[in-house]
Each structure stands twice: as structure tokens, then as C-alpha cells.
Amino acid sequence: MSIFSRNPDPIGPLDYARRFWLRAIVAVTLFFLYAPIVGLIVFSFNDSRRNIVWRGFTTDYYVKLFNNEALMLAFGNSLTIALFTTLFSTVLGALTAYVLWRYRFPGKAIYEGGMALPIVIPEICMGVAMMVFFARIGWPSGMPWPLNLSAITIAHIAFSFPFAAIVIRARLESFNRELAECARDLGANEYRVFRDIVVPHMKPGLIAGALLAFTLSLDDFVITFFTSGPDTVTFPVKIYSMVRFSVTPEVNAASTVLILLTLVVTAFALRMQNRNNMIGNAAH
């Protein structure tokens, strides 16, 4: 085909996505976003201590990782905190969403604003506030595991449950209030309506909210950094102390594990939410 022949599918005036320079910018941006992370993951398999030039494939650093007791302890701490945070945040988030969705009450706008506060204020402010709070009330330290993680868990719940509430409330918007009325007319009491009608409808939202709380807790560094003590190190805090020290393949391997874990959980949450929307759309 001659290069002078007309393009059978010319670029329309609004086909911005097909223009070369826009495509180039998108490609460069995506490269900028992904290259460092991909590099980090690739070099976790690099058979060289200095971590500069590629010297061959190895999984040694993952083996070392799993034999590193301090790191595994931190990992266990992180998972424990995340599990408790998920449990509490989902329940508290569901209750918040339910109250805001169902009721009118005086001062509701202020209440909603208050619930949004943990989401909007800078992390550092919340971190130091939690640190001062636990120091001031003399929260016992040096308790046996897992009670020594309670301060961190409490702080994590405080910033996670408003996020869960938003996700769950979005799900409740698609609920047909007449169903609840109907159940009440047929003699169900408040608790049964909640348990048998509202909660089953909330379920995808509950799961999405729970997964969100889990990743928020697992990923948090700043607030944990200020509430953790020497014997309550979490995975990100441990990685931080390793990062301060130097760039090593172990840190890359540990980071890769955390990236994978978060990705799996989030992908699952996203699927849940998608199904959420599909069910929501089908209901209308």
C-alpha cells in the first residue's frame, strides 16, 4: 500500500485519543508511574547484594525474608492489626452508614462533617494526636501479644471506619425502602428487618468496605509510626527502618510481598464493587 493512499479510518476532530502526541504523553506518564515499581519488583529477584546491575535470577531474598524473624514478626503484627481493624471498621462503618441513610436528626450535617474528618485531616496531625492521647491517658504498654497492638489497632479503626461507611452507604442508596416497610407491616420487628432485609442487601458493600479497611490498615505508615513502640513494629514500619538503612534486595522482596497482598485484596474488592453496581443497576 502506498503511503500516499488515504487512511481508510481518518482521525476525526474529536478523536483526541488517537492523536500521536496525546498517546505519547499517556505512554510516558504510564512509564513514569510504573517503571520504578516494576524495577523494584524485578530487582527483588536479582542475584547481587549491591542491587545495581542485573546478575541473574534468584529467589534467595524471598527465602531470607521468610527466615528473617523480626520481619516475619512485623508481618504477623500487621496482619493481626489489619484483621481486627477490618472487623471493627466494618461493623462501625455499617452502623454509621445505616444511621446516615435512614434517619433525619438534628445536627446531621455536622455529624457527617465529623465523620469525614479522619479522611481529610493530614495524617501527621492524626498520628501525633493519637501518640499524645495514648501517652496522656497512660495506655498500658508492654502487654502480652496481641494486646500490645491495641493502641495501633484503635487508631487504625478510627481512620478506617469512616471510609468503610462511605462504601457501605453507597451500596445502601440502591436499597428499596419499601421492602423494609413491607417486612414491618408483615410483623417483623426492627432487629429482624435489619438482620433479614437490610444486611443481606448491604452484603457486597460490607465486603468491599471490609477489604478497604484491610488494605488501609495494612498500608498505613504515618499513623502507625507514631503509635507504635519498639516491641510493636508493623510491616511498613519495619520496611521504613530498613529503607533508612539502605537499598537492599531484601527490602525489595519485602515490598513485593506487600504490593502483591494489597493488589490481590483490592482486585477482589473491585470485583465485589462491580458486582455491587451491576446488581444495583439491575434492581432499577
Binding site: A35, L92, F105, V128, F133, F161, N252
Partner: protein
């Protein structure tokens, strides 16, 4: 929605637990900090609440004003770079085919789910003396020299022997890191604003003879203004309060306000002063949010459609 009095018992059962948690483990800690900001440090660990404004006065000293100013400058630079980069990306996403659009959006948000600490660490590996950029540059220089010496132009004639660039531990590195972590914050609101845009305005503008540049600045930008403002605010706020990025990528002179707050609570052990700085940062955040709320309300009223 029903009045809470209609089923007061259920209301309280659902209302009480989250409210208790929010008040006890969030509002009270913040109030404590707020009280501290009006207190004086009277001993190593003694703090007396005497309702003075000394801590705030100290925050206005040139040193701390300078750090506030530096935080604002870095956050502004970050926001500006993000805006310039995110706009074409958002346009490309909005105007691509629907199934492609979901994938591109997902690709932009995906790094968001990667831990902030890990993303910052990944940048250290890119920027450090032996990092990917410096090694890449060295490779280019060495090979260019080798090629030149092959054709008899002598050794090291281009830039001399390669000296690695100091890319890490300075303000540029901090802004680079902040752009890296906050780009999705800017793309998403821009995408949302451009997605709502009525394309017939663009067609009309192009039909009437305006070029793409003119259409962009006279039609797209004014119509997407609320989205732009929203993107600016939600990029600016976390950048302004960021702790990790300046801590890991910055040098001794790239401390931002969050780093000073942290050092007041950890190393300097001056809680009242740290508390005052925290609240100043929070007031700045609230101010930015208020600006956003006003702009959003304007959008509601002045909708073209």
C-alpha cells in the same frame, strides 16, 4: 428518610457505637492537641495549660514561616506539574473507546493501591547515585566515548569522565516524589469533569473555525473549571502535609511542615509547639477544603446544561 424519634431505640443502638469511637479515639485526641497548643512546656515532661499564644507566636518566627512557605511552594509546584501532566492524560482517557477507557483509568489508579512508602522507596532506587537514571546516563556516556574513540576522536571528549548526578536528597527529588505519588489525585477529578462535558460545544467551536488550542483554552478549560479546582485542592492538601516523601527523598534543607511537627513530638520533645504547628497545618487544610466547597457550589448553580 425518617425522623429519628420514630424509632428512637434503633436509632440509638446504631448511632451510639460509631459516635463513641469517633469521639473517644478521634475528637478527644485532637482536642488534647488543641489544648496543648495553648499550653507551656514547664519541664522535661511537664506541660501546663495556661491559655497563652506563645506557641503560635513562635510559629511565626522567620525559621518556621520559612518552612511553611517552603511547604506551600513545594505543594504548589507539585500541583502545577500534576495539572500540566494530568490534563492531556485525562483528555486522552475521556476520548478513548469505552472499554479502553476503563483500562486506562485502572492503570492510572493502580499505583494508588501500592503502599506510599514502597513507591517512595522505589524512587530512591531510581534516583540514587547508583540508581537507574545515573547508570543509564553513564552507559550512554561511556558508549558514546567508546564510539568516538573508535573513529579516532580521542577519549572522553563529550562530557569528560562520567560523574553521577546528585538527584536524591534535594528539593527537586521531593517535588519529583510528590508528583509521582499524587498524579492519580489530579487525573481522576479532571477525568470526571471532562467526562461530563457536552461535546457539541467542542464541535461547535471547531466548526466555527477555532483551532484545537483555542478550543481548549476558551471552551474546555472554562467548562472543566470546577473539576480543575477540585483536582488542585485534593492534590495540594496531601502534598502540603506530606511527611514520608520529604523525609526519605529530601535533604537537610527540604524539611516540610509535617517533618517539623514530627521532630517536635519525637526528637525535640516540645509537644505544645508541635501541637500549634499541627493545628496551623489543619487550619490550612480546612481553608483549602472550604475553597473547594465554594467552587463546587458554584458549579451546581452555574451549570451550562
Amino acid at each position: 428518610m425518617e425522623n429519628w424519634k420514630r424509632s428512637a431505640q434503633t436509632f440509638w443502638a446504631a448511632f451510639a457505637p460509631p459516635t463513641f469511637w469517633l469521639v473517644t479515639f478521634f475528637i478527644i485526641p485532637l482536642s488534647l492537641i488543641w489544648l496543648y497548643s495553648f499550653s507551656s512546656k514547664t519541664g522535661v515532661i511537664d506541660i501546663t495549660l495556661d491559655w497563652n499564644l506563645n506557641q503560635y507566636a513562635r510559629a511565626l518566627e522567620p525559621l518556621y514561616l520559612g518552612i511553611f512557605w517552603k511547604s506551600i511552594v513545594m505543594a504548589t509546584a507539585t500541583t502545577a506539574i500534576c495539572l500540566v501532566v494530568a490534563f492531556p492524560v485525562a483528555i486522552a482517557i475521556v476520548f478513548s473507546k469505552p472499554n479502553m477507557r476503563m483500562w486506562l483509568l485502572l492503570l492510572v489508579i493502580l499505583p494508588f493501591w501500592t503502599n506510599l512508602l514502597i513507591r517512595t522507596y522505589a524512587l530512591i532506587a531510581v534516583l540514587r547515585t547508583n540508581g537507574f537514571i545515573n547508570n543509564g546516563l553513564e552507559w550512554i556516556v561511556v558508549n558514546a566515548d567508546w564510539a568516538l574513540s573508535l573513529i579516532g576522536l580521542g577519549d572522553n571528549t563529550i562530557v569528560g569522565p562520567f560523574t553521577p548526578l546528585q538527584l536524591l536528597y534535594n528539593n527537586t527529588a521531593v517535588v519529583f516524589g510528590l508528583v509521582y505519588v499524587s498524579l492519580p489525585f489530579m487525573v481522576l477529578p479532571l477525568y470526571a469533569a471532562l467526562d461530563r462535558l457536552d461535546r457539541s460545544y467542542l464541535e461547535a467551536s471547531l466548526d466555527l473555525g477555532a483551532g484545537h488550542t483555542r478550543t481548549f483554552f476558551s471552551i474546555v478549560v472554562p467548562l472543566a473549571l470546577p473539576g480543575i479546582a477540585s483536582g488542585i485542592v485534593i492534590t495540594f492538601i496531601p502534598a502540603m502535609g506530606s511527611y514520608l516523601t520529604p523525609d526519605l527523598l529530601g535533604g537537610t534543607d527540604s524539611k516540610m511542615i509535617a517533618n517539623v511537627i514530627a521532630s517536635q513530638f519525637k526528637q525535640a520533645n516540645n509537644w505544645p509547639f508541635g501541637a500549634a504547628l499541627s493545628f496551623l497545618l489543619m487550619y490550612a487544610t480546612f481553608f483549602a477544603l472550604a475553597v473547594r466547597a465554594v467552587l463546587m457550589r458554584k458549579e451546581g448553580r452555574g451549570d451550562v446544561r
